[in-house]
C-alpha cells in the first residue's frame, strides 16, 4: 500500500522499482492464489477419491471398506456377473444412439430455426424447456407415456387402430430404447441451442461468397457451415457423453433398471452393488471400469481437438 501511495504522490515520475515488482508479482500470483482453493478441492474431492476407489476395488471390501489386498479378484467377479455385461452393452448402445440422435435432431432443428422464421424466440424456449426439468420428472412422465395400458398405445387404440402396439417398455430387449427416447427428448433442445449459437457466430460474408459462386444451400451447409461448427460439436459431444454416463436418475425413474434388469447401466449397477448388496469391492471395480471407459474415449478426442486448436486455425 505505501509503495503505491508513494508513487502516486510523485506525479510524472516513472513508477519505482519495488512497486512495479510487487504489482507484477501480485499479477503473477493472484490467479494462482485464487485458483488454489478450487484446485485443492478438486485434488482431494476427485483425484484422491479416485485413488481410494481403486484401492477399494483391489480389496475384499464387502459391507464396509476393508483395507487388505486381494489382487484382481473383484474384477474377476465383476466380469463373471451377467448383469454387468448387460450394463456395459446398454451403456454403449445408449450412449451411441443418444449422441447420434440428439446431435442429428438438434442440428436439424438449429438449422431450421436459423432461417429467420417468425416467433423464433418462442420456439427456441419451447424446445429448450425440457432441459429445465429434472431427469426424475422426465423419467416418470415418459414411464406413463410409454406404458401400454396408460399412454401412447392406449390412446392410438382408442382412436380405432386396434392392432397398434407400442409396448417397448414392457419388453426386456427393447426397453433400453425407451430410455434413449426419454433422454433424447430431454437433451435435443440443449444441443439445438448450442448449434444455434454456433450458427449465429458464422460470418455471413462466407455464405454470401459461396452463394455468389453458385453453391446450392445443402452444399453450403454440408461443406461450409457444419465444418465451421466444429467447436459446437466438441461442446455437445463432451456434455452429452457425460450426461449419458451419469444417466442414473433417468433409468431409476423410468424403468428402475427393469424389466428384469434389462436396462441396467453401469451407474445403477455400481450403486446397487455398493450400497444394497454389500459388495463394495465389486461396486468399486465397476466404478473403475467406468472411469477407464470414459477416459479411453474422451481423452484421445479432447487431445486431438484441443491440439488442432492451438496449432491449426
Amino acid at each position: 500500500m505505501t509503495d503505491i501511495s508513494q508513487s502516486a504522490a510523485v506525479p510524472g515520475t516513472a513508477p519505482q522499482r519495488p512497486a512495479a515488482t510487487l504489482s507484477a508479482r501480485l499479477a503473477r500470483w493472484l490467479p494462482r492464489l485464487v485458483m488454489a482453493p478450487s484446485f485443492l478441492v478438486v485434488l482431494i474431492g476427485v483425484y484422491l477419491f479416485i485413488a481410494w476407489t481403486l484401492w477399494i476395488s483391489l480389496s475384499s471390501s464387502a459391507m464396509l471398506p476393508r483395507y487388505d489386498f486381494v489382487g484382481l479378484e473383484q474384477y474377476v467377479r465383476l466380469w463373471n456377473t451377467p448383469r454387468w455385461h448387460t450394463a456395459v452393452i446398454n451403456l454403449f448402445l445408449f450412449t451411441g444412439l443418444f449422441l447420434a440422435v440428439t446431435i442429428a435432431l438438434g442440428l436439424l432443428m438449429a438449422i431450421l430455426l436459423d432461417q429467420n422464421i417468425r416467433a423464433e424466440g418462442v420456439l427456441r424456449t419451447v424446445y429448450l424447456y425440457p432441459m429445465a426439468l429434472s431427469f426424475i420428472v422426465t423419467g416418470t412422465a415418459w414411464k406413463w407415456v410409454l406404458n401400454p395400458e396408460l399412454g401412447v398405445e392406449k390412446v392410438v387404440q382408442s382412436w380405432g387402430w386396434d392392432t397398434f402396439a407400442f409396448d417397448w417398455i414392457t419388453r426386456p430387449e427393447t426397453a433400453i430404447y425407451c430410455v434413449v427416447i426419454a433422454a433424447v427428448w430431454q437433451s435435443t433442445g440443449f444441443a439445438m441451442a448450442i448449434f444455434l449459437a454456433g450458427l449465429r457466430g458464422i460470418d455471413s460474408s462466407i455464405i454470401k461468397a459461396a452463394q455468389i459462386e453458385g453453391a446450392s444451400l445443402p452444399r453450403i451447409y454440408a461443406s461450409i457451415i457444419v465444418p465451421l461448427l466444429r467447436p459446437a460439436f466438441l461442446s455437445v459431444i463432451v456434455l452429452l457423453s457425460y450426461i449419458s454416463i451419469k444417466s442414473f436418475d433417468l433409468v431409476l425413474a423410468l424403468t428402475n433398471a427393469g424389466p428384469g434388469g434389462s436396462t441396467e447401466m453401469p451407474s445403477t449397477f455400481m450403486f446397487a452393488y455398493t450400497f444394497q448388496r454389500n459388495q463394495m469391492g465389486v461396486g468399486a471395480a465397476s466404478a473403475i471400469m467406468m472411469l477407464m471407459t470414459v477416459a479411453a474415449i474422451i481423452i484421445p478426442y479432447l487431445y486431438s481437438e484441443l491440439r488442432e486448436d492451438t496449432h491449426g486455425h
Binding site: R83, G258, P259, S262
Partner: protein
C-alpha cells in the same frame, strides 16, 4: 429498539421449551419411515420418550426400501458421527454387531425377560452370543393374498387351497374383464411371490435348505424347477401394464375391482383401509395356498451405536425399554398394520387381518413353518438375496426356461460367495 426487545423476549420464551423436552438427553434416530401411517406409528414411541423426559431428533431418510438410510448410516459411521439409534432390516443388525459398533442391551433384556418374549426365529436377527443388540418392534407377514370380495362373489370364486386352483381362476376372471393378479415388474414384487412358492410347493424344510443354507443340490433340484414352472403360469395372470407399477398402485387395482388379487405383505392393508374398505365385506386377506401354510416374516428393529456421550447413552437405554414395552408395541402396530414382534402381546384391539396374522403365526411356529422372508433380507445375506431377485425378476419378464433360471441361480450364488 422495541424490535430488539421483542426479539429478545421471544428468544427467552422460546428457549425453555426445547430445554424441557431434552431434560435428560436427546436421541437421534435414523430410520426410513416417511409415509403417513409409518410416522404416525413412530409417534407412539416418540411420545412415550417425551413423557420420560427424553428428546427425539428425527432423521428420516426415505427411499429405495431403506437403502438410502443405510447409505446415510455408513457415511455417518465412517465420519465417526453415528446417530444415537438406527432402524435395522434383515442382516444389518447382525452385521453391525459383528463390526462391534452397536450397544449390547443384554442387561435389561435378562432383567425384563426380552429373550423369552421373542421367538427363536426372531432372536436370530437381534441377538448373538448372549448379546441383545437390536430391539424388534414389529412383525410383518409377507405371504398374504389380498383379494376383492365383490369380484370373487360375482365370479363365484372362493379362497383357493392350492396354487393350481389359484392359477385355474385366471381364465374365468380374464373373461370377466378383470386382471387376475396385480403386481409391478420390480424384482422385489415378483420375488415375494417366488418366496411363497418355494415353501408352499416344497415345504418349509426345502425353503431353509435352498434359501437360507443356499444348498446347491436344493437350488438345482426338481422342486426348484417346479417353482419356476409355477411362476411362469403366474405370469399369465398378470396384465402387460405392469412395468414400473408401484405396489400401492397394484393394491389400488384390487381395491377398485380392476384386479382380483395381489400377493403382498400386510403393509398393503393400509391401502384398503384408506379407501374405507372393510375386511370380510369388501376385501379378503388369506395366506398363500399351501398344505403347510407358512408365515414368512420380516421385522423392524432398532439398534443403538456406542457413544461416550452420557445423555445419549441414557436416552438409548430409555428407547430400548420403550420399544420393548408390550403396550407400546400394541399401540405402534395397530397403527402400522403389523403385529408386535413380542409373542406375548394379546390380540385385543387389533383388526381381523391382524388377528388372523396372530393365529397363523402361532400355527406356523407349531409346524416349523415360521420362516424369514428372503425378499426383505431375512433368509440369506443381501449379496445372495439380490441374486435371487435378479434371476426371478428377469425370468418373469423374459422367455427364459425354468432350467436356465436354475442354472443362472446356481452360478450367481457361486459367484457371490
Amino acid at each position: 429498539m422495541t424490535k430488539y426487545k421483542t426479539l429478545l423476549l421471544a428468544t427467552a420464551l422460546a428457549l425453555p421449551l426445547p430445554v424441557l423436552a431434552q431434560e435428560k438427553g436427546t436421541i437421534e434416530v435414523l430410520h426410513h419411515w416417511v409415509s403417513e401411517s409409518e410416522s404416525a406409528a413412530l409417534n407412539v414411541v416418540r411420545e412415550r420418550m417425551a413423557e420420560q423426559g427424553f428428546g427425539w431428533q428425527d432423521s428420516a431418510v426415505g427411499g429405495m426400501s431403506g437403502a438410502n438410510a443405510t447409505q446415510a448410516l455408513r457415511t455417518r459411521l465412517a465420519s465417526g458421527n453415528p446417530p444415537g439409534a438406527m432402524q435395522f432390516l434383515g442382516y444389518e443388525g447382525l452385521n453391525w454387531n459383528a463390526e462391534g459398533v452397536v450397544r449390547d442391551f443384554s442387561e435389561p433384556a435378562n432383567e425384563k425377560g426380552w429373550f423369552d418374549a421373542i421367538e427363536p426365529e426372531v432372536a436370530e436377527f437381534v441377538t448373538a452370543d448372549g448379546k441383545f443388540f437390536a430391539m424388534p418392534i414389529n412383525m410383518h407377514r409377507q405371504n398374504w393374498i389380498w383379494a376383492n370380495k365383490k369380484v370373487f362373489d360375482a365370479n363365484g370364486l372362493s379362497v383357493p387351497q392350492t396354487w393350481a386352483e389359484l392359477i385355474a381362476m385366471g381364465p374365468k376372471l380374464k373373461a370377466a374383464g378383470v386382471v387376475p393378479l396385480a403386481t409391478g415388474d420390480e424384482a422385489w414384487q415378483i420375488q415375494l411371490i417366488f418366496d411363497a412358492l418355494v415353501t408352499d410347493l416344497n415345504g418349509p424344510d426345502f425353503y431353509r435348505k435352498a434359501l437360507v443354507e443356499l444348498d446347491t443340490e436344493a437350488l438345482s433340484s426338481p422342486g426348484m424347477i417346479a417353482v419356476f414352472d409355477t411362476l411362469r403360469e403366474v405370469r399369465g395372470l398378470v396384465d402387460d401394464g405392469f412395468v414400473g407399477r408401484d405396489w400401492a398402485v397394484a393394491t389400488g387395482m384390487v381395491a377398485s375391482g380392476e384386479a382380483a388379487m395381489q400377493v403382498h405383505g400386510d403393509w398393503a392393508k393400509g391401502e384398503f383401509l384408506a379407501h374405507g374398505l372393510k375386511e370380510g365385506e369388501d376385501f379378503l386377506c388369506f395366506a398363500t395356498p399351501s398344505k403347510t401354510p407358512s408365515y414368512l416374516f420380516l421385522i423392524d428393529s432398532f439398534g443403538a451405536f456406542t457413544t461416550r456421550d452420557a445423555a445419549t447413552t441414557a436416552a438409548q437405554a430409555a428407547l430400548a425399554e420403550t420399544i420393548m414395552d408390550p403396550e407400546v408395541q400394541r399401540a405402534f402396530n395397530r397403527i402400522k398394520g403389523s403385529i408386535p414382534a413380542r409373542s406375548d402381546v394379546s390380540v385385543d384391539g387389533f383388526d381381523s387381518c391382524a388377528v388372523k396374522s396372530f393365529e397363523d403365526r402361532a400355527a406356523a411356529i407349531g409346524n416349523g413353518a415360521m420362516l424369514g422372508a428372503l425378499t426383505h433380507g431375512f433368509a440369506s445375506q443381501p449379496q445372495f438375496a439380490a441374486v435371487f431377485a435378479d434371476v426371478v425378476g428377469q425370468f418373469f419378464v423374459t422367455d427364459m426356461t425354468s432350467q436356465q433360471a436354475v442354472d443362472m441361480l446356481v452360478n450367481g450364488i457361486a459367484n457371490a460367495m
